[in-house]
């Protein structure tokens, strides 16, 4: 038996293992080194205008949700509706962090799907994203009134996750702050 002829089946075997693993995983909450640490500093222009800027200090004073998204990210389209729902139900403002995107595409995306964000920080180079330890888009951070990251979701949030953990977490933090 020649190795060249066996190679395809080995590749497919690896692929099947990988896909099988993929099936067992739902986009899950991963533990993060950033939890219970202060939100990393940033100072970015907003998507709305080049003059206005948003910094990490703007996150302080109340519980906020920071959602990292991009117009090229298909999963962001999937969670878009839920992000809107979380904000509406809890009254927590969502700060968007537009990651490695172009201004025109990002604005078009918001125009098309609706804008759930109170304000969008524009991070075309992805530098702030790196400081925040963003490995996947979308990612969602819960930042409390002191500017400490309390919770993090990697990948798109699901409806179950939203109801079971994200909303309770937000309500709990809001209650603690007031």
């Amino acid at each position: 038996m020649r190795w060249r002829l066996v190679l395809p089946i080995l590749i497919v075997f690896a692929l099947i293992v990988l896909l099988g693993y993929g099936l067992t995983r739902r986009p899950d909450i991963l533990p993060s080194a950033f939890i219970d640490k202060p939100a990393p500093a940033f100072d970015l222009p907003t998507l709305a205008s080049d003059q206005e800027r948003i910094t990490v200090d703007d996150l302080k004073g109340r519980v906020t949700l920071v959602n990292v998204w991009a117009s090229w990210c298909v999963a962001c389209r999937a969670e878009h509706e839920l992000i809107t729902a979380v904000s509406r139900r809890t009254g927590v403002p969502v700060v968007g962090l537009n990651y490695k995107d172009t201004e025109a595409n990002a604005k078009r995306w918001l125009g098309r799907y609706g804008n759930p964000f109170a304000v969008v920080a524009f991070d075309p180079t992805g530098a702030t994203g790196i400081d925040w330890g963003v490995s996947a888009v979308p990612e969602t951070f819960v930042v409390d009134a002191e500017g400490i990251i309390r919770y993090k979701v990697v990948g798109p949030i699901t409806r179950e996750e939203m109801n079971a953990s994200l909303i309770p977490k937000l309500e709990q933090l809001k209650a603690k702050g007031s």
Binding site: M1, R2, L5, V6, P8, I9, V12, F13, L15, I16, L18, L19, G20, Y21, G22, L23, R25, P27, L30, A70, W72, C73, V74, A75, R77, A78, K100, A104, K107, R108, G111, R112, S135, A136, V137, E139, V154, G155, P156
Partner: protein, 656 residues
């Protein structure tokens, strides 16, 4: 009653497909002619049963039978009848039914054409296709029965996803599935070759038309998909590198490689095990696409409602079919590798080898990018979607050389071509391509940007060399050129047109978002867009605000556009229908955003140069496939079919 008949027909189809698989296999093992003879009638019977099931589901949709859960979930009494029928394949269960219906259709075609094939080959091919049918029928009956009833029946259905209420959807999935499923035929021929141990020129001559046919349908399907996305997703984009788009594109890439490697195997008797492997891979990727769309491992705008048990079933099925085939390949393909002979770099086979390498590597690149979220996740890096930046970076450098190769394709002779022949025939097309490729972007979109010029030169190169070949070959000929030569040239010219389209649309389209009140105008690249106002319209199952725009060029009215914003009654979803003025050299595309204060609207306007060329190129390539299919060679085999299968020896000695 009717849905139960459909359900029962599916069960009978399963029985017949099982017969179609097991008896011929036994017949091959024991050399029993009577068992072999079962294959064709069983395939015909299976097709009839699938047809009954399909019509039964269609009738349930037509008659608004909401006691059928699938109908209730995907239809509505307000839905026009043609969308009620296309809703058959609007979601998971029904699209599986379409998949199986088309597979049964291809089996029927093979069964009817099989009189010209040796009995054992035909029966073996049908048995393999029957096995694929069995897998899908089991899947449907156990996890995704479209005929499931629900009581009490709802009074009204939930409506078809508004994104899918488009004429494109009436034809896009059937074409795409015809392509996917069509590769099952090439796959079945490959498995037959492994079982019978014969890959000879007769085998390739049978396999080629089936592969070309499947490729043609897939080309049309992918092109329609891109067109639909442009119209319905409202972004003015034409390809999003979405996992589901990729799922249809990977089999296309490998199928294209297969068409070319089949040509080498037929003409030169080499690359045999590679051709067999490609045939298996093309179908494996079709199955993988089915898995990705339905299992929920990846997130996509197209994904069907996801269900882990379905995912597990399809993955198991994939493992059995593809794993089994490749095991067979590992055990039996060595016999096709008789004697290595060097392939000259300057020869048609050398060129086609390069073509295959680029296509397969490109497909692997797309596969890697598509599966990257799962891969990254399994390595503990989180789920990262790579997105268009990755695909563009990987894909363009891999496909640009392919277009260069296209130009040399016609000129290269088998075995060896002298460099001076190449030079003497290619210098003129090269000069024409350079001149045309520089002039085209300069005089149409007014640019000399390197990317646009390079793309246009490449595109012109593919077109000019294709024409040069046709002109040179028909000079002094009284009879028509062989259809497959003409088909190849047209398909290659289609690629050229496509390349010109993408070079000029990417980066040179103007676009802007403006706020317009009735009576106001905005100007873009020489066109003046005047917003007249909106009016309210009640559609059959939606209400719409329709905008009225007048487009003027140099003060002269050239188009009226009516973009609309629809709100569907059943689900309440909003949909944007763009108003598009179609042109050969540009599209003007207006889409309504949100209503603002007063009667003003946010409006998005795009200018998309040469975007039509993208789809024109796709359809022209598919036309090339169709013309190649009608070649006399494939019909002539009827006369020679009863002769014993020619052995391969003649070919290998001739080339040694």
């Amino acid at each position: 009653m009717i849905p139960e008949i459909g359900h029962f027909a599916l069960i009978l189809a399963l029985g017949l497909a099982t017969l179609q698989t097991l008896l011929p296999m036994y017949g091959i093992w024991r050399s029993r002619a009577d068992c072999l003879a079962v294959a064709a009638p069983a395939a015909i019977g299976q097709f009839v049963m699938m047809g009954i099931a399909f019509v039964a589901l269609g009738f349930a949709f037509y008659a608004n039978d909401f006691s059928v859960a699938y109908v209730a979930a995907n239809s509505n009494t307000q839905l026009p009848w043609f969308y009620r029928l296309s809703a058959i394949w609007g979601a998971h269960e029904g699209s599986l039914l379409l998949w199986m219906m088309l597979l049964a259709g291809w089996s029927l075609a093979v069964a009817l054409a099989s009189r010209t094939l040796p009995r054992d080959v035909a029966s073996c091919v049908l048995a393999v296709m029957g096995a694929v049918s069995v897998g899908f029928l089991l899947f449907t009956l156990f996890t995704s029965n479209p005929f499931e009833r629900q009581f009490p029946a709802p009074m009204e259905g939930r409506d078809l996803n508004p994104l899918l209420q488009d004429p494109g959807l009436v034809v896009h999935p059937p074409m795409l599935y015809m392509g996917y499923v069509g590769f099952a035929v090439a796959f079945a021929f490959a498995i037959t070759a492994l079982i019978t141990g014969r890959v000879d020129s007769a085998w390739t001559r049978w396999t080629r038309p089936w592969t070309t046919a499947a490729w043609m349908f897939l080309t049309i399907g992918v092109t329609l998909g891109s067109w639909w996305a442009y119209k319905e997703l409202g972004w003015g984009g034409w390809w999003f590198w979405d996992p589901v788009e990729n799922a249809s594109f990977m089999p296309w890439l490998v199928g294209t490689a297969l068409i070319h490697s089949l040509a080498v195997t037929e003409k030169r008797g080499i690359f045999k095990s590679w051709t067999v492997l490609l045939a298996i891979t093309a179908f494996a990727l079709s199955l993988l696409g089915t898995f990705l769309v339905r299992s929920g491992v990846l997130i996509s705008v197209h994904a069907f409602a996801t269900d882990p048990t379905r995912g597990i079933y399809i993955l198991t099925f994939f493992a059995v079919v593809v794993g089994g085939s490749l095991l067979l390949y590992a055990l039996r393909a060595a016999q096709f590798e008789a004697g290595r002979e060097p392939v000259a770099a300057l020869s048609r086979e050398g060129l086609l080898l390069l073509n295959n390498i680029f296509l397969v590597v490109a497909a692997a690149g797309v596969l890697l990018g598509t599966l990257y979220p799962i891969l990254a996740d399994s390595l503990g890096m989180g789920r990262i979607s790579v997105g268009p930046p990755y695909f563009n970076k990987v894909f363009i450098p891999l496909t640009a050389p392919l277009v260069v190769l296209i130009g040399a394709a016609a000129v290269m002779a088998w075995k060896r071509t002298r460099a001076d022949v190449l030079r003497s025939r290619l210098w003129l097309p090269l000069i024409i391509s350079i001149v045309a490729g520089v002039a085209l972007p300069l005089f149409t979109v007014g640019t000399t940007a390197v990317a646009a010029v390079a793309g246009c030169v490449l595109g012109c190169w593919a077109i000019v060399t294709a024409f040069e070949d046709i002109v040179r070959r028909s000079r002094g000929r009284r009879v028509m050129l062989p259809r497959n030569v003409v088909g190849m040239a047209i398909a290659h010219a289609g690629v050229g047109i496509f390349v010109i389209g993408i070079s000029l649309v990417s980066g040179f389209g103007g676009e802007h978002d403006v706020r317009l009140a009735p009576g106001q105008s905005t100007e873009m690249v020489g066109y003046e867009f005047t917003f007249v106002g909106t009016r309210h319209v009640d559609g059959p199952n939606f209400v719409a605000e329709i905008g009225d725009f007048i487009v003027r060029e140099d003060g002269r009215q050239i188009a009226e556009l009516y973009p609309s914003k629809r709100r569907y009654n059943a689900g309440g979803q909003s949909m944007t229908e763009a108003g598009i003025d179609v042109g050969v050299t540009r599209d003007l595309y207006v889409s309504l955003g949100e209503p603002l204060s007063g009667d003003a609207w946010s409006v998005r306007i795009y200018h998309r140069p040469f975007v039509r060329w993208i789809w024109a190129g796709g359809f022209i390539s598919a036309l090339g496939g169709l013309i190649a299919l009608t070649d006399k060679r494939y019909r002539r085999r009827r006369a020679t079919a009863d002769k014993p299968v020619a052995t391969d020896r003649g070919l290998t000695t001739a080339t040694a």
